[in-house]
């Protein structure tokens, strides 16, 4: 086709498009049109489940419902609103069970312990690296940043496997320990160590991410603050304590809150670790327990109650963290 026909083709298309545009009535509801795809999905898949979880927690799941909730007639056709599930009202029974459920407490404890091991380690590492990178005397800053950020892209299940192979009896870690003349640690078979392994894995995964955030925060601190401190006679440590840390407060809050939420949502790592033979009672996290209850035992009502409890715990922790800073 020569360029003449191409242009006239393009032109005809353009004319058609513009004619179409003109024939459409002016749209007062434009913003709503833009918003509707998002909000339809949002309402159906996020808002509704939020309320339904709370609702479900007061029921026992008895099976999938085949009969509709109610049917109404419009014109000649009948519209059936499907029932979500067959439920039996049990009031606060699920919550009572929750309060007496040892496994719940145990899984909560496991999660908290992982939290206590992971967070200090990860935050100190992230902060330390950020400090070094920010100090400006390192070249190749970008290279380090890139490498350290990589673990974030690792698939959660795949990277757990990666660590499992290293940590399993006879794996790389054992080899290193023996070489150093130390007693190899039974990472996968001892509950205590398995928990630490999970924490350690997460440290590997998320340090880079948090480091980037902390580093960015550090870079917004005006150098004149440090200069003022220097003139006042502050040592490096003092500068860190009196200038860096206070300025980083909002960033650290963000880091803590997001990490907390992340720890309490841990699922992939425990699944693989447990499947590879780790003792379940010491490594089961709370989300893992919810998964067991809801999808292995099909106790959706109790699972919902557990979910509600978990959400409340997370919210409380976040609020506490807000208040503290």
């Amino acid at each position: 086709m020569n360029s003449q026909t191409v242009t006239s083709l393009v032109d005809t298309l353009r004319f058609k498009r513009e004619q179409l545009k003109e024939s459409l009535p002016p749209f007062p509801g434009t913003p709503y049109v833009f918003l509707s795809p998002f909000f339809v999905l949002f309402g159906v898949f996020l808002v509704f489940p939020m309320f339904y979880t709370i609702y479900l927690s007061f029921f026992t799941f008895q099976g999938v419902a085949l009969d509709p909730l109610f049917v109404f007639e419009i014109g000649g056709a009948s519209v059936a609103i499907p029932k979500m599930a067959n439920l039996q009202f049990v009031g606060l029974e699920n919550y009572q069970r929750l309060l007496g459920d040892n496994i719940f407490y145990q899984s909560l404890l496991n999660t908290v312990i992982i939290f206590l091991v992971q967070v200090p380690l990860m935050v100190s590492l992230a902060m330390g690296i950020a400090l070094v990178l920010n100090a400006g005397f390192t070249r190749f800053k970008d290279v380090f940043r890139s490498i350290l950020l990589l673990p974030v892209a690792a698939n959660s299940v795949a990277y757990t496997i990666m660590f499992t192979v290293i940590a399993v009896e006879g794996g790389l870690l054992d080899g290193v320990f023996i070489m150093l003349g130390l007693q190899p640690i039974p990472w996968m078979t001892d509950g205590f160590w398995a928990r630490n392994l999970i924490a350690g894995m997460s440290v590997w995964r998320w340090t880079g991410y948090n480091m980037i955030i902390i580093l960015a925060g550090m870079q917004t601190i005006s150098p004149s603050l440090y200069e003022a401190a220097e003139i006042n006679g502050a040592t490096r440590l003092q500068k860190f304590r009196y200038v860096t840390l206070p300025q980083l407060k909002p960033i650290m809050l963000f880091v803590f809150v997001t990490t907390t939420i992340g720890v309490f949502k841990k699922f992939g790592e425990p699944v693989i670790v447990i499947q590879s033979g780790a003792p379940i009672n010491k490594t089961r996290t709370i989300v893992y327990y919810i998964y067991e209850v809801a999808f292995q035992n099909l106790q959706l009502g109790y699972g919902s109650a557990l979910t509600v409890a978990l959400v409340l715990i997370i919210l409380t922790l976040s609020l506490i963290q807000f208040k503290v800073t």
Binding site: T7, D11, R14
Partner: protein
């Protein structure tokens, strides 16, 4: 090529606070009537917040009108969308599409709202670019252009659509002083050539005076006066207009009238021969360029003398009131000297103390200023 009628235009904003206590309205434009003839260059001028930009945007269709009508060639356009009004607008920050080349920027409107084939669009764009002197920049993106060049692209974008009305919202304010002066004359030439009805908004009264066929002075949403520049200068309707037009601003004194004698600050007094005012307070205005220096007088104590090369600005005090005199370069008193003021009664403005309305305006002949020693 369009006649514009603005009839009782009012634009009010709802200014209720969050706590719902204040339910006030901000009236940005208050009952404005303007008739604009085909091909006229009208300038809307006034201090910040006077409603000039809002009026322009109402004409453009970017704002809804609260009350009143806007008519193009006797057709009411209040309900029309901007793109149906056949107007083009140049924004203060040019609003060029950053991801498009100059050529695409200029041609965008044509591509969207007309049924011209692509080659004709390309030709029109090229012609306009030549007219604006930017035809060598057609492939560049806005970020690569200087402020003046971006200006021209913005202008070109408006011109190429051959609209009935040009609207310009302070298009020159982002340019440096020299460029502004050059563009000013270019714009005027352009408008003369194209003969399109133009409404131009600015806060700079010098620009307004230089460019407009007629100037509409606004304050607080209210139209003060709309007249050709010279009329505004010589016959302002009120103190506000007199003060706004003219640089440096007119000197205004609070005087007390008793019979034919006006007495003012610093013991200064003036005899009225040809006019009479009621006894009581009155405002007297005299422009800096109309005052002559009387070396033997002793009213004015000089505080600053600015020698500009071609003329001198003499600042002094009458009592506590500051006065500006614009004098020939040969008049050069010393700081601290006292001089007297002389001015012709025909150059005097008198304003009502209470309302600000003018009682008497300039009646002198337009002639070269008398030589001063």
């Amino acid at each position: 090529m369009t006649e514009i009628t603005i009839d009782g235009l009012t634009k009010a904003y709802d200014a209720s606070n969050d706590d719902g206590n204040e339910n006030g309205e901000i009236i940005a434009v208050d009952d404005i009537d303007i008739e604009i003839e085909d091909g006229e260059f009208i300038v809307l001028v006034g201090p910040s917040g006077c409603g000039k930009s809002t009026t322009l945007r109402c004409i453009a269709g970017l704002e809804d009108v609260t009350e009143g009508e806007i008519r193009f060639d006797d057709e009411v356009v209040n309900e029309d969308r901007p793109r149906d009004r056949d107007v083009a607008m140049v924004f203060q920050n040019y609003a060029l599409y950053p991801h498009m080349t100059v050529e695409e920027n200029i041609g965008f409107g044509l591509k969207l709202s007309s049924t011209l084939p692509s080659d004709e669009i390309a030709e029109r764009v090229r012609n306009v670019a030549e007219m604006m002197g930017i035809d060598d920049l057609l492939n560049k993106k806005p970020a690569e252009l200087s402020g003046g060049q971006q200006q021209r692209v913005a202008l070109g974008r408006s011109i190429v659509r051959e609209p009935g009305i040009f609207l310009m919202d302070e298009p020159l304010s982002n340019l440096d002083a020299k460029l502004r002066a050059t563009m000013r004359t270019e714009l005027q030439e352009l408008q003369n050539d194209l003969d399109t009805t133009t409404i131009y908004v600015t806060h700079d009264q010098t620009e307004a005076m230089a460019m407009g066929d007629r100037i509409a002075v606004l304050d607080g949403g209210v139209l003060q006066q709309i007249d050709p520049p010279e009329e505004l200068y010589r016959n302002p309707e009120n103190e506000f207009v007199a003060n706004f037009i003219g640089s440096p601003s007119i000197n205004l004194f609070d005087m007390d009238a008793e019979g034919d004698t006006l007495s003012g600050p610093g013991g200064f007094s003036y005899e009225l021969d040809d006019h009479s005012v009621d006894d009581g307070p009155v405002r007297l205005g005299i422009r800096p360029e109309d005052i002559t220096v009387d070396p033997d007088g002793n009213n004015l104590q000089i505080s600053v003398v600015e020698k500009m090369g071609n003329e001198n600005f003499i600042y002094g005090r009458l009592g506590t009131k500051e006065v500006v005199i614009r004098a020939d370069a040969s008049v050069r008193p010393e700081v601290g000297d006292t001089i007297g003021l002389q001015f012709d009664e025909s150059a005097v403005y008198l304003f009502d103390s209470a309302t600000g309305e003018s009682i008497k305006t300039k009646t002198d002949e337009i002639a070269a200023p008398p030589s001063q020693f």
